[in-house]
């Protein structure tokens, strides 16, 4: 009876939604069980404390136009939390790639984009936890949403979009790499350089002149400016949300997605 079914010419019919769900849970459940997910909560709290407590006096004694340092540096904490999620995303996709799991998925009756979609939804899960922890930590040090609900929603959506773009990029890098440890170590440096050499901690005018053009225009600064405008400030120097203010950061996001999506699709539909 089974033999007859086996020999029919009907191809296996994959249930895409169920496959996606199973593969997503494969990534989420173990990290919850081992408590690894706690890192997504602790890391943003550690970033907040490490930037805010030592730098508050030094950075604010000459003033930077904001009502508090918490309000000023909060976007950088959001961006660091997103970068932290991206590094662990790269570690995971590299582990799958090195262990031969992607190759195995390629040989199974699986729709090509299901594995990458599952990895991305697991990344979204971690991203949401880590962003929530970052905002909670921000509230503790005195960060507040000063504008209406639409702007606050915009802040949340914008942070999730940045996080998704970064994790997508990291997923591609991880899939292409040969070693999970080497990848995550190599990815520690870019957030450090871009984070410190941005307007996230200090205004561009406080940097040496020769580097100011880079500090002003690089993506992290643009993201920080956009997030600051969406959060608002009582001192009134946060800027107003407009196409000219949000434009550069939206273009950076579009560029990351436009480069990474075709690569991600190509990598996951490759059958070897």
């Amino acid at each position: 009876m089974t033999a007859t079914t086996w020999h029919t010419h009907t191809p296996a019919t994959p249930d895409t939604v169920q496959q996606w769900w199973v593969l997503t849970m494969r990534l989420i459940v173990p990290s919850v069980k081992t408590g690894e997910v706690l890192a997504s909560v602790l890391a943003p709290a550690a970033f907040t404390a490490s930037f805010y407590i030592p730098l508050k006096t030094v950075m604010m004694f000459s003033g930077n136009g904001f009502s508090s340092y918490a309000q000023y540096m909060m976007p950088l904490v959001i961006l660091q939390a997103a970068a932290f999620t991206a590094i662990s995303a790269a570690f995971r996709s590299a582990t799958d790639s090195v262990a031969g799991l992607n190759r195995r998925f390629g040989a199974m009756p699986l729709r090509p984009l299901v594995p990458v979609a599952a990895r991305m939804s697991a990344n979204l899960f971690r991203l949401l936890i880590s962003l929530a922890a970052a905002i909670a930590a921000g509230y503790v040090i005195g960060f507040r949403f000063r504008l209406d609900a639409v702007h606050t929603l915009g802040f949340l959506v914008f942070s999730v979009l940045i996080g998704l773009a970064l994790t997508l990029g990291a997923d591609v890098i991880g899939t292409l790499s040969k070693s999970p440890e080497a990848t995550s170590q190599a990815l520690v440096l870019p957030p450090l350089i871009f984070g410190m050499l941005s307007t996230g901690l200090a205004p561009a005018s406080q940097f040496p002149e020769w580097i100011q053009w880079f500090v002003r225009n690089q993506p992290v600064s643009q993201f920080a400016i956009g997030l600051r405008a969406l959060a608002g400030d009582t001192a009134g120097n946060a800027g107003t949300v407009s196409w000219s203010l949000m434009g550069p950061s939206l273009l950076w996001l579009a560029a990351i997605v436009a480069i990474c999506t075709p690569v991600a699709i190509r990598l996951s539909s490759r059958r070897a």
Partner: protein, 270 residues
């Protein structure tokens, strides 16, 4: 024939002090070669501290100078040298875990190698690595404007602070690494060291911290080591911070040396 003679000569003195020195030197050379030939660890322990120093000088250096009127380099150069020593210790811990898992330690155990040379060579290699890292950081610091103002003897002592500090930390990492090879534990140590860096007097001056946290910042291991090195290079008290550094280091060694040695022995006999 001569080969056989050499071998018998060797096995006879497997436990002799001469063998200890010879085997330790050979194993130290092995570890240092391994380090030098792995671009990632080399990059991590030599280049990243230098980049970090340049970055700190650009981002917070100017602000601190305007805030205190003193050159921030005399805090950041020592701090970065110490951070380099710590991250080198973590890299060494990872390598040790890998060698245990690959069975290399067990293999040395059944060869005519002096028992103590495994651990001794790791200490010596670690010391060399920290010294090289400190020199690299100092070269960058020198280009940025860091100078020794207290004479050659103090400058010499300056180099020994990161070595002592790093070796004490390496003892802790070894004790952890020989029992568990888990990557998350190494990650935990990395988080601990970065917290130590941010909450130290090398990152920003003590007065910039809120009063409630100042006692912690002032007395934590990295701050006292930074202060000692600052005193040896520029100005400020030396006696108290140096004593505190030695106390912290001695405490770490006393607490963790025996577990590290037992763990190393156990890992070798696996």
């Amino acid at each position: 024939m001569s080969l056989l003679a050499a071998r018998t000569g060797d096995t006879a003195g497997e436990t002799s002090p001469a063998a200890l020195i010879r085997h330790t030197l050979i194993q130290t050379q092995r570890l240092l070669l391994r380090w030098a030939r792995n671009p990632i660890t080399l990059f991590e322990t030599l280049l990243i501290p230098c980049l970090l120093l340049i970055m700190l000088d650009i981002v917070v250096g100017g602000q601190i100078e305007r805030f205190t009127g003193e050159d921030a380099l005399y805090g950041s150069v020592p701090m970065v040298a110490l951070v380099g020593a710590l991250s080198g210790a973590v890299a060494g811990g990872v390598l040790l875990g890998r060698e245990r898992d690959a069975g290399l330690l067990a293999r040395f155990w059944v060869l005519p190698v002096h028992r103590a040379s495994g651990l001794a060579s790791r200490i010596l290699a670690e010391g060399c690595r920290i010294l090289l890292g400190t020199i690299a950081v100092l070269i960058v610091g020198f280009l940025l404007g860091f100078r020794f103002h207290q004479g050659p003897l103090a400058a010499l002592a300056f180099f020994f602070v990161p070595v002592i500090f790093g070796l004490a930390f390496a003892t802790i990492v070894t004790a952890v690494a020989v029992y568990t090879a888990k990557a998350s534990l190494v990650e935990g140590i990395t988080i601990l060291t970065s917290l130590m860096m941010f909450f130290s007097t090398g990152f920003v001056p003590l007065v910039a911290f809120p009063t409630w946290i100042q006692p912690v910042v002032r007395n934590q291991p990295m701050s006292v080591a930074v202060d000692a090195m600052r005193g040896l290079a520029d100005q400020g008290p030396i006696a108290r911070p140096l004593t505190m550094t030695l106390l912290w280091s001695a405490g770490a060694v006393l607490l963790f040396a025996i577990p590290a040695a037992i763990g190393f022995r156990r890992a070798s006999r696996r």
